[in-house]
Symmetry: C2
Subunit: 333 residues, 2 copies
Amino acid sequence: MKKLINDPKNVVNESLAGFAAAHSDLVRAEYDPNYVVRADAPTAGKVAIISGGGSGHEPLHAGFVGYGMLDGAVPGAVFTSPTPDPILAATQAVDGGAGVLHIVKNYTGDVLNFETAADLAAAEGIEVRAVVTNDDVAVKDSLYTAGRRGVAGTVLVEKIAGAAAQRGDDLDAVTAIAEKVNAQVRSMGVALSPCIVPHAGEPSFTLAEDEIEIGIGIHGEPGRERIKLEPADAIVERILGPIVEDIPFASGDKVLLLVNGMGGTPLVELFIVYRHAAEVLAAQGIEVTRSLVGNYTTALEMQGFSLSVLKLDDELTELWDAPVQTAALRWGR
Amino acid sequence: MKKLINDPKNVVNESLAGFAAAHSDLVRAEYDPNYVVRADAPTAGKVAIISGGGSGHEPLHAGFVGYGMLDGAVPGAVFTSPTPDPILAATQAVDGGAGVLHIVKNYTGDVLNFETAADLAAAEGIEVRAVVTNDDVAVKDSLYTAGRRGVAGTVLVEKIAGAAAQRGDDLDAVTAIAEKVNAQVRSMGVALSPCIVPHAGEPSFTLAEDEIEIGIGIHGEPGRERIKLEPADAIVERILGPIVEDIPFASGDKVLLLVNGMGGTPLVELFIVYRHAAEVLAAQGIEVTRSLVGNYTTALEMQGFSLSVLKLDDELTELWDAPVQTAALRWGR
């Protein structure tokens, strides 16, 4: 196992310390329990949004803390849900009196621990809502979920709900926007290589030299099938088909296309994927009007990618375009 | 070889097409010969800046084309210098009448081909200057260079010279700023794994399961030594020592610290590297006042990182902070 780490026990804390030091203009980190909040948190009168989950998916979620997106993020141990304590602490730290929205990826541990934290926060008089993201069409139930998994579409929920909160929408409205984005986004991924959880020290699964896993989860959970490696365009078609069929997307739709790297795949390949995905959508009359390409929801050093397609309307487009200033997404301000 | 590609011959063209489609608000691409320019190029009366080199280092250079940075970029084949033709075409396409600066990484082929293109452009009445970057302290001469290699420090040259051009500096002044940044930045890298050039199909070098290469080049060229894998903090110290000693940097200096991923290393590890690099500099009285962490000058899917340290003054800091709007770097506008 070759990793740029010191002690596996300290991966999350050391990485968090580096992140907070490199981005001290945007965020501050607290330790024991660990969480990240906007440097200027709380914002009085604004709905606050936090998200969280196991570490190893960076820049998700701490990389999205800042103006126009998240107010806070709660990183658990690698691929492990954060406990209620830091979720509660982050909720308290960001509350500006207008309520707090929890954006939670659908994994059993995450959902449970965010619920417990929400109950504790409510007992202290903080109004909390939750939106559970479940955009992964690969499998119905999985190792760690009842129902579909929450994957890279979560980034789009966080950006668009964050913009709604930033413009002053109230808690009901921000929650409704987050639900709407989750309802209109679908994702699916593929792995060319496994990843290694530092404290485990060996791959959580193996793939033969000529094999890839279609429908991979962001923790290396099994997907739909293992197949022989194919040309990029063929892989794109395998992933995009189930995404388009699910809602279904239809001719005339305007969409945001996210090509998300899993961590170990270079940008030069992600753009090859983007090219064909946009072509395939265009051939079906689906117009890509907004795009995002890069590593946004990763699985440590896994090689692979996921596609997410979000159906846009004027409101979602305007919120997507709104200024954002975070470590991993910035524009317009 | 598992890569998300179709035919190895088409990697650069397909990736370029995907890049240009995903970022059509910022850039346009031309083919045969291949180059990328700002969507609004040329900008009348503004000094234009182009850079280029072999592909496989994305987002370098096309990812830095846009407001406040590069006017154009010329991607060659993977790890292969672009020929004079596309360099000349890009130079013509961006010339707004105030001259064109070529920012060239110090590799023999790049330097020669940019010189030839500059001569051809001059014959057409375009005033061209060149700055050759050579920030890599690892080796004095290498496989492909006389003198030091140009590596990730090039990004800092491009950003800061780009800001000078955007504020209206003339060709002499922009050239002087680029020279100054190159003179004040030093870099060094390390590889944990090799990378595979698509048309070669196999790694250009091999490393044992417990070995790393200190001083690696961005094409996998040999560095200073191969050692056994060490904890991240020890590796950081090995890389940072020669950087600090080279200029040398001294107590009281304010610096920009760039932790650059080589392509296959996850962000969670890059922040562990950042944390200790900033600590080591602080212990020597060198204050990190600006930071950049991410994949900016890559070597395909290589695992590893480089550190770059740039000595700042008020002018360079102001130019660094100036608005920039490119695919890979954005803020403040």
